[in-house]
């Protein structure tokens, strides 16, 4: 639970929505709204700016000490300290220094940038009076993170049993102005890997919320009168990356042909049970920059064949596989062990066989696959993986010419215009000014197809009917946890819990 050490998804959600408080939150339009910080203002001069937060004075740590600007400064200083090895330190690259003005006022000095507020959405200040004396490089191992966390959020820490559960209880002192005491008395978060076991716990009433439902289980949950599906479009998309250094994938026309030859709607229907949307490019629909007018490439094997013919890939020896200059249109398509992705590979293999392109599937252990694709030599042909778009949509590590030597330029794709656009939009404060550029970017991506963008994903969760007020969206599964409630008649005889 130590934010300076653990930033994985569920830890982050428990930190930001359960045990601690962030300075700001996002509203449904993804614009910042006050939370621990009751207000802020900015003054700019040249390319520098000063951001001043005024904190609430009624939020206390669970041991009674008030949460002050000192805690925020301590957290910021540790984040910036390289010895901490805070994983998301680069999200604070703009930030230079912090000065505490008084108990509840803190000012940050930073470079001017439209996305300056975003990092505060995910950072919960940590208690300086507990962790202040711990050397930065020891913070990660400190028992605060695993057995003695002390928060200031709507729930208090009760117990952690490793590999089993985290137990929290309502914090009666949580300020009224932030919603006050949560309606639930206890919140138990349990780890269960096996999907069948999770489903059973939900349907028998042991669990009230089931995160990450397998698509194949949706029908059974919908058929139950006691549980329902809570799904929302998230930031993830699935894609096939074509290695641009491979002779088959160097030509954008061939890559476009491959996309045309893959029935992506079928993939959504089969592997996601319809929970997803055929993708157009690297900008998911949750984002204001998403181009609603742009039509995704259709499933059109006929046009795919024409494009491949024109590009010189023709089956001359009649073995069902095209070739050019003595090279077969045959490649290895890899993924990590994951049932959904393995199914995708099988469907793609069948689709591409129809247009004379041979796919050799290979499932490879995740870290070993990671080594192969991030190596500068790009030791692979193509692979299927998922990607999570950041709220700022900065895809430069993936597609920019300047990142060609970097670990994430798997496509070896370089289009100077894309670099220009991305460099420019990242610095534009005005959405309406940036929008035409964002649209141009999406058109280029569709034309060039450095990846075949398969589908925009949906998060599928489920909840028991007795649990009310459950709203989940792109901001998080637990965004509304303070407002979850259970009618008295539906409560368990002993305690009520998640």
């Amino acid at each position: 639970m130590n934010h300076l050490a653990s930033v994985d998804d569920i830890s982050n959600e428990l930190q930001n929505f359960v045990l601690f408080t962030t300075l700001i939150r996002y509203d449904v339009d993804l614009s910042p709204v006050p939370y621990l910080a009751q207000s802020w203002d900015t003054t700019a001069s040249g390319d520098k700016m000063v951001l001043t937060f005024r904190l609430r004075d009624d939020v206390t740590w669970h041991d009674g000490a008030p949460t002050t600007a000192r805690d925020v400064k301590f957290t910021f200083d540790r984040i910036k300290d390289p010895a901490t090895a805070y994983p998301r330190v680069s999200s604070f690259a703009l930030y230079d220094s912090a000065v505490v003005h008084d108990t509840y006022t803190i000012a940050f000095y930073l470079k001017r940038h439209p996305g300056f507020m975003d990092p505060w959405r995910t950072v919960s200040p940590m208690p300086a009076h507990i962790l202040g004396d711990i050397p930065a490089e020891r913070l990660r191992d400190h028992p605060f993170g695993t057995s003695t966390p002390l928060g200031n959020g709507p729930f208090r820490f009760v117990e952690h049993r490793s590999g089993d559960r985290w137990v929290f209880e309502a914090n009666p002192d949580f300020p009224k102005s932030l919603g006050g005491r949560p309606y639930l008395d206890r919140l138990v978060y349990r780890f269960i890997e096996e999907p069948t076991t999770r489903l059973t716990e939900l349907l028998t009433g042991e669990a009230d919320v089931y995160l990450i439902v397998a698509p194949s289980q949706v029908a059974e949950i919908e058929a139950s009168s006691e549980a329902r599906i809570v799904a929302y479009a998230n930031r993830n998309y699935a894609f096939i990356n074509w290695n641009g250094k491979h002779p088959l994938f160097a030509d954008p026309n061939v890559r476009r042909a491959l996309t045309l030859a893959i029935d992506r709607q079928e993939i959504v229907d089969v592997v996601r049970q319809g929970f997803g949307e055929v993708a157009k490019g690297p900008v998911p629909p949750f984002h204001w920059a998403y181009d609603r007018e742009l039509e995704p490439l259709p499933y059109d094997p006929e046009r795919a064949r024409d494009l491949l013919d024109t590009a010189g890939w023709i089956d001359r020896d009649g073995d069902g596989v095209r070739e050019r200059n003595g090279i077969n249109a045959s490649f290895e398509l890899r993924t990590n062990p994951n049932p959904t992705r393995e199914d995708i590979i099988t469907l793609v293999q069948a689709n591409l066989a129809q247009v004379g392109v041979q796919v050799r599937p290979r499932v490879q252990e995740a870290q070993s696959l990671g080594r192969d694709i991030t190596s500068p030599e790009r030791l692979f042909d193509a692979f299927v993986l998922g990607w999570r778009a950041e709220f700022n949509l900065d895809a430069r590590p993936l597609f920019a010419c300047s990142a060609l030597e970097g670990p994430y330029q798997w496509a070896s794709y370089c289009n100077p215009r894309v670099d220009e656009i991305l460099d420019e939009v990242m610095l534009m404060p005005d959405r309406s000014q940036a929008l035409p550029l964002w649209h141009e970017y999406q058109e280029i991506m569709q034309q060039d197809q450095p990846n075949t963008f398969l589908y925009y994903d949906m998060r599928i969760n489920a909840s028991r009917e007795r649990l009310r007020g459950v709203e989940m969206d792109i901001r998080g599964d637990l965004i509304s946890v303070r407002d979850w409630w259970i009618a008295p008649a539906d409560r368990r005889q002993i305690g009520n819990s998640n």
Binding site: N2, A5, S6, V7, D8, P82, A83, A85, Y86, P87, R88, V89, S90, E137, R140, D141, H142, P143, G145, T146, E159, R161, S162, G163, D164, R165, V167, R186, V188, R190, F191, I192, E193, E194, T196, T197, L199, T200, E201, L203, T204, E206, A207, A366, Q367, S368, G370, R371, D372, T374, E390, P397, L398, P407, Y408, R492, I494, G495, S497, N498
Partner: protein, 330 residues
């Protein structure tokens, strides 16, 4: 006997060190490292480098090995790189859980296996014998994780839809305790724990019980054909006494040695069963640690498993001598 046990334990030391060295080499030779879970474009390479430095992974491999060996020999297992906690704390939490699960299974295996084996031997070639042989083979062929899933589907899920099914036979699907465990009374807590043990220990043990039954049957059949059994019967002892008092002790001899073979089998089976039943034991820890390249945890858990296997084998050998006075280890 004491000298023998001490000798065996001393012999185990080079064996364990060899195992640890091999695992160390294999783990570090595998692609990736513990920082891979943080690998993301928004994570600067310098951060990963700093983590490696904090964890000492920037040192040459032989230095890492010597460092690890040194702290290990002084009783320090290090700190988990993925869980950010001392490995000793993790082991202290997880080992008892695995021992509870495999211990219960072991009891179940031997109790059920021996009883069924005896019944089959006494009623050789009867309908009952054939039926039991058939079901033993059937159960023996089932993989434990599949059996676990079936048990969950039937005894933790389907039975909730059957109104007349007694509540005590509706078993929990996962974990060691209910979500409201802390709020229960003393006896309710014990009942809750036992309730949670039923399905996993059954899934883990039942196929071994089936094979024990097979061994027990043939071992019993060997014994009851011997002259001293005929003598016992001839002097007019009741059949029950002949079987349970005279024959059983000799027939158990080969079964006891199986104990040493089944323990490692149970520990490896626990890996899958703990996964299916979300049992917070060693098996799950070791699998997660391998995927995350959490070197200190992998090394420590391997060590614990190896020690358990060595000890289990030793116990089997000692039991052998206790049951059969003809065997002497001198």
């Amino acid at each position: 006997m004491t000298a023998y046990i001490v000798r065996r334990l001393l012999q185990a030391i080079p064996l364990l060190l060899g195992i640890l060295t091999l695992v160390f080499v294999f783990m570090h030779a595998a692609p990736g490292d513990p920082t891979a879970i943080y690998m993301h474009p928004s994570v600067a390479p310098e951060v990963l480098e700093q983590m490696r430095q904090n964890w000492g992974l920037d040192q040459p491999l032989h230095i890492q090995y010597l460092r690890w060996m040194k702290s290990f020999l002084t009783g320090d297992f290090g700190v988990s790189l993925a869980q950010n906690r001392p490995v000793a704390t993790i082991l202290a939490e997880r080992i008892p859980n695995t021992l509870i699960l495999s211990g219960t299974s072991l009891l179940l295996i031997f109790a059920i296996g021996i009883a069924i084996g005896i019944i089959q031997a006494v009623r050789q070639y009867s309908l009952l014998d054939n039926a039991l042989t058939f079901s033993a083979l059937f159960i023996y062929s089932m993989p434990s994780f599949w059996l676990g899933l079936m048990l969950i589907l039937i005894f933790a899920y389907k039975v909730y839809q059957v109104d007349w099914w007694p509540a005590v036979l509706r078993f929990p699907a996962s974990g060691m305790a209910s979500v409201d465990y802390e709020l229960l009374g003393f006896w309710a807590k014990i009942g809750d724990r036992l309730h949670h043990l039923v399905l996993p220990s059954f899934a883990l043990g039942v196929s071994s019980a089936a094979s024990i039954a097979r061994y027990m049957r043939s071992s019993m059949l060997d014994v009851i054909r011997q002259d001293y059994i005929r003598t016992a019967r001839a002097k007019g002892l009741p059949e029950r006494t002949v079987i349970l008092k005279h024959a059983l002790k000799n027939a158990l001899l080969p079964i006891i040695t199986l104990l040493g073979l089944y323990l490692p089998f149970l520990f490896s089976g626990a890996v899958l069963v703990e996964h299916v039943f979300a049992w917070p034991g060693m098996g799950r820890t070791i699998v997660e640690a391998i995927y995350q390249r959490d070197y200190p945890v992998v090394m420590a858990t391997t060590f614990v498993f190896a020690v358990m296997v060595v000890v289990a084998n030793l116990i089997a050998d000692v039991l052998y001598a206790i049951v059969d006075p003809r065997i002497r280890y001198e």
